[in-house]
Amino acid sequence: MSDALALTWRQYRLERKMFWRNPSAAFFSFALPLLFLAGAGAALSGNQHQLNRLVPMIAGMSVMSTTFTALAYNIVFLRERGVLKRIRGTPLPTISYFGGVAANAVTNTALQITIIVLAGRAFFGIGWPLHWVALIVFVVVGVVSFAALGVAFAHAIPNFESTAAYVNAVFLPVVAISFYVFDSSSAPGFVRTIAEALPLKPLIDGLSAAMVAGTGLGGHLDALAVIALWGVFGLYLAVRGFSWEAART
């Protein structure tokens, strides 16, 4: 077990190193939400009510992009390139491999949430998160769910060239509908129902409660349950459908 743990740590360190050496991946999963925050934040400057909504929205989007998007990209790339197959043939325990990969994604999420919290405090008039426990619980459950969904989704993507199309076909509509419903009280009922059933809107609710409203966990257990249910679904599909090799042509 200590061996598996040591190998998880080594895999994690390798993943970190590879992440920083790949500027485009680092940019897409890292800088994009922050640029979005900077741009929208500047546009909404002075409107504290809007800024209070913007910051949790960006935080939720960051959780999704650092886990769901980044993992789908990574897994498909490594699968199609034959890296996964090669790793599969070594004694590296599967748990250590995925432990390292997941820890890498979690590190990116944690870094982004930290930057968003700091930026919210420094530039957008939002104080320190009012409810740290709720923030951590929502981020952790969100990370686990979106990471599992990203790994599961990788299975549906047939080749690396189409990864951007597949990922964006999910990421953009989910972000759009979740942002819209979170921000607008006049959203049509069925649109609201859809958004509430998807994992991002509940995550933004929870992050908003923790970061801005300070209402804590109690009032958002249903949101937490929706995210967790997606997580269970994602984990099931991730494990069941996982493919270590590119499909034979």
Binding site: A6, R10, R21, G82, K85, R86, T90, P91, E245
Partner: protein
């Protein structure tokens, strides 16, 4: 796959030779633990590879037909990382030297040439100091010089006492490297034995080939199991006609003849 029954001895280089689609890679991937077999018995170093035990994977090294590597890793980093998977890895610098990668040890893998990446494939399979090494078409797409270099590596592994199972569709490769060869086609073993024996006692083919140029200058080739009688007939006929048998030669079929004979579509 219709049934492949082979036993590879410890310390030997065993070649699976056959055309594309013969079932070579499928066979090797079952042995490596990548694929489940539908029936039959398989034992690799005394274990069932389908169970995918870590203990077994510590003792084998795999060179895949096409295995990728992280774009931004250097050979030295990759070898250090891979070495950490194994209980008694070889020295990374030594493996870099053995695989001829010293000069490129700190280059990102995306900047390596195809031949250099293939060397890295070898190096990564060796770094755990495995007892048994699988080489799936190790030199496909190589230029002659790179192929010779790869052959030297395989020979040096054999000298270290490693057992090697290699697949190839190059006859000369099987002939140059393998102690024993199994010729496979359509998931079946057609012939098995040391290359020399397959040539001396070709299964299903004549043992001798007699070739000469006839009076019209055309090359004639006859196959026989009784060269003495055939030669006697040919030479006496030629003498009776007052002709020469130009370029008369008697020989064994080459591995290529055996191979073509066996794998020819009937």
């Amino acid at each position: 796959m219709r049934g492949i029954d082979i036993t590879v001895q410890r310390g030997e280089v065993f070649g699976l030779l056959g055309p594309n689609g013969a079932g070579k890679t499928t066979t090797v991937e079952i042995l490596e633990g990548y694929r489940a077999r539908t029936s039959g018995e398989v034992s690799v170093l005394g274990q069932d590879p389908a169970k995918r035990s870590i203990e077994l994977r510590r003792r084998i090294g795999i060179v895949l037909q096409s295995g990728g590597i992280y774009s931004h890793i250097t050979p030295r980093e990759a070898l250090r990382h891979w070495a950490s998977f194994y209980p008694h890895p070889r020295d990374v610098e030594e493996v870099l030297a053995l695989s001829g990668l010293q000069a490129k040890a700190d280059e990102r893998s995306r900047k390596l040439s195809g031949g250099q990446l293939r060397r890295l494939d070898f190096a990564l399979a060796l770094v755990g100091d495995p007892e048994l090494i699988f080489l799936d078409e190790p030199t496909t797409g190589f230029d002659p010089e790179a192929r010779r270099a790869a052959w030297e590596t395989v020979r040096s592994l054999r000298e270290l006492g490693k057992t090697i199972l290699l697949t190839t569709h190059y006859l000369e490769e099987a002939q140059a490297l393998a102690d024993r060869v199994a010729i496979v086609k359509d998931g079946r073993v057609l012939a098995i034995g040391p290359p020399r024996e397959l040539m001396a006692h070709p299964p299903g083919a004549a043992h001798y080939r007699v070739a000469y140029r006839d009076s019209r200058g055309e090359l004639v080739e006859r196959q026989t199991d009784d060269p003495t009688r055939l030669l006697h007939e040919l030479t006496s006929e030629a003498l009776a006609r007052g002709e020469q048998l130009e370029e008369l030669a008697v020989g064994h079929p080459t591995l290529e003849d055996v191979y073509l004979e066996l794998t020819a579509d009937v």
